[in-house]
């Protein structure tokens, strides 16, 4: 959770200033290209470009490593599973305690293909996440006709996520200082109490929030961001990038 921030990484970066709708549409197009690609080079190219964007935003390598650790670990495991348990053409073999383990060429290729797809897709979404504030993304989704109920719930969740997270960290630290997580049974009880306390806080906060919002004119619907008109230069630049990527994807 410690690599999770509510603000974009670099306010001055050109991509941060780019219209969220343009960014989201470009990213979704790239994502579709990556997951529908049958080769290895294109997803890896996308991973390189988007990874470079993340670094140019000033994202610390440690944060990037934490963000990518889980999907890349899964990519590695898929690669190993495919190498040893899929395919028919032997590539290499070794013996452990008299048993022969065979790696397959076609299994390796299939594994590398899936792993490269994961790397490409994860970096595309990370680049969007690092350059776009959540509220702008929700505004872009609303523009894409995602139902308002979904957007409203997401905005409430985002607004109070950090409040609840702080509460959870305070309770967790207090429990830990009192040896609440010493021992399996005790740890489980403490965790149950912590999550129960969070649910109670969520209920209480929702009542307080509603009272405060009703006093400010809340009638059950929330106003969403009004978008500025599209800038021609942004749209043209995004179309060029997507067209270039599309051409590479076809190759």
């Amino acid at each position: 959770m410690h690599h999770f921030t509510r603000h974009p990484q670099n306010d001055d970066h050109p991509l941060t200033r780019l219209d969220a709708r343009v960014k989201l549409l470009s990213a979704l197009t790239l994502l579709v290209m990556v997951i529908s690609c049958r080769g290895i080079a294109f997803p890896l190219l996308v991973a390189g470009v988007c990874g470079g964007i993340c670094l140019s935003l000033g994202v610390r390598p440690r944060v990037l490593a934490l963000r990518f650790a889980e999907p890349l670990f899964i990519a590695g495991m898929v690669l190993l599973l495919k190498l040893f348990f899929a395919g028919t053409v032997p590539l290499f073999s070794f013996t452990i305690a008299g048993w022969e383990v065979v790696g397959h060429r076609d299994g390796l290729m299939e594994g590398v293909r899936i792993a490269s797809r994961i790397a490409g897709a994860v970096t595309v979404v990370a680049a969007v996440g690092f350059t776009t504030p959540f509220t702008d993304l929700m505004g872009a989704l609303a523009w894409l006709r995602v139902p308002k109920g979904f957007i409203e719930v997401a905005l409430f969740a985002w607004r109070y996520l950090f409040v609840l997270l702080d509460d959870a960290q305070v309770v967790y630290a207090a429990q830990k200082n009192r040896l609440g997580y010493a021992g399996y049974r005790r740890g489980l009880r403490s965790f149950g109490t912590l999550t129960g306390a969070l649910v109670i806080k969520a209920f209480d906060n929702s009542q307080n929030i509603t009272t405060a919002m009703v006093q400010r004119g809340y009638d059950g619907t929330m106003p969403l961001l009004k978008h500025r008109p599209f800038r021609l230069a942004e749209v043209v630049a995004a179309l060029l990038v997507v067209a270039c990527m599309g051409a590479l994807w076809r190759i």
Binding site: M77, V125, L188, F191, G192, L198
Partner: protein, 245 residues
């Protein structure tokens, strides 16, 4: 030996905190299929939310905060002794018990979207598959088990435990189906499904028990500290509350 090697590899895979299917792992056709399956359920969740919010203005903020709670719960690592590592619970069981299965699907959809965008946990391309496993299957399993056991006279704790346990296991069984169908390539489905299911066992067998205990603990805690909330969310009736008092 080959079997031993499989077991070692699968055990090594278990610490992956693999609650959700990772971004990019599903090819386009499978990602689109699961997306198409998930969307109607999320739409029904939104419809239910709007209906309930008409009578109670605090319902939307409450659902938003529950989504935040599910997000936090599914980001909290808890120890799994058999794997010597950490994993995390789903949290949809408790959400389904409190706000019903359809709104719980919406909650998981929102939590999964935030996790995909800002934690690389799950993904945008696998959002549909993750909503189906954690949201649709998890929520309905939790809700049906809880309501079913309560109808049969089980206590809140027992019903909560089995709801949490089966929510977790059903989520992972569905995830295994989704993964096996998505990455099998030219392989037959069933052997790969079994391999993936076995890979989840070292983590998810005990984690399901933990999630069951956690859900039971939460329901019991709510009953002890704030029974009014359980009455408001129609988990228990006013009559049950006064009968116990």
């Amino acid at each position: 030996m080959k079997r031993l090697f499989v077991v070692i590899l699968l055990l090594a895979a278990s610490p992956a905190h693999a609650m959700h299917i990772s971004e990019g792992i599903l090819p386009f056709n499978w990602a689109a299929l699961w997306f198409a399956v998930a969307v109607p359920f999320v739409a029904l969740g939104i419809k239910r939310l709007n209906m309930l919010a008409k009578d109670d203005l605090s319902f939307k903020p409450l659902v938003g905060l529950m989504a935040a709670v599910v997000f936090i719960i599914s980001c909290m690592p808890i120890p799994v002794p058999t794997a010597g590592t950490c994993s995390h619970p789903c949290g949809t069981g408790i959400a389904a018990i409190l706000v019903g299965p359809f709104v719980s699907i919406l909650i998981s959809g929102v939590a999964l979207l935030i996790q995909a965008l800002f934690l690389a946990h799950g993904g945008l391309s696998t959002w549909g598959a993750d909503v189906v496993s954690m949201g649709v299957v998890g929520s309905f399993m939790g809700w049906f088990v809880f309501r079913g056991l309560r109808t049969m006279g089980a206590s809140l704790g027992v019903a909560g435990f089995f709801a949490g346990l089966l929510t977790d296991w059903a989520t992972y069984a569905t995830t295994s189906v989704e993964l096996a169908s998505g990455i099998r390539g030219s392989e037959p489905f069933l052997p790969l499904f079994v391999k993936i299911l076995v890979a989840f066992i070292p983590t998810q067998l005990p984690l399901g028990l933990l999630e069951g205990a956690m859900t039971a603990g939460m329901v019991v805690l709510l009953y002890k500290k704030r029974p009014d909330l359980l009455v408001k969310m129609r988990v228990i009736t006013e009559k049950e509350l006064t009968a116990h008092a």
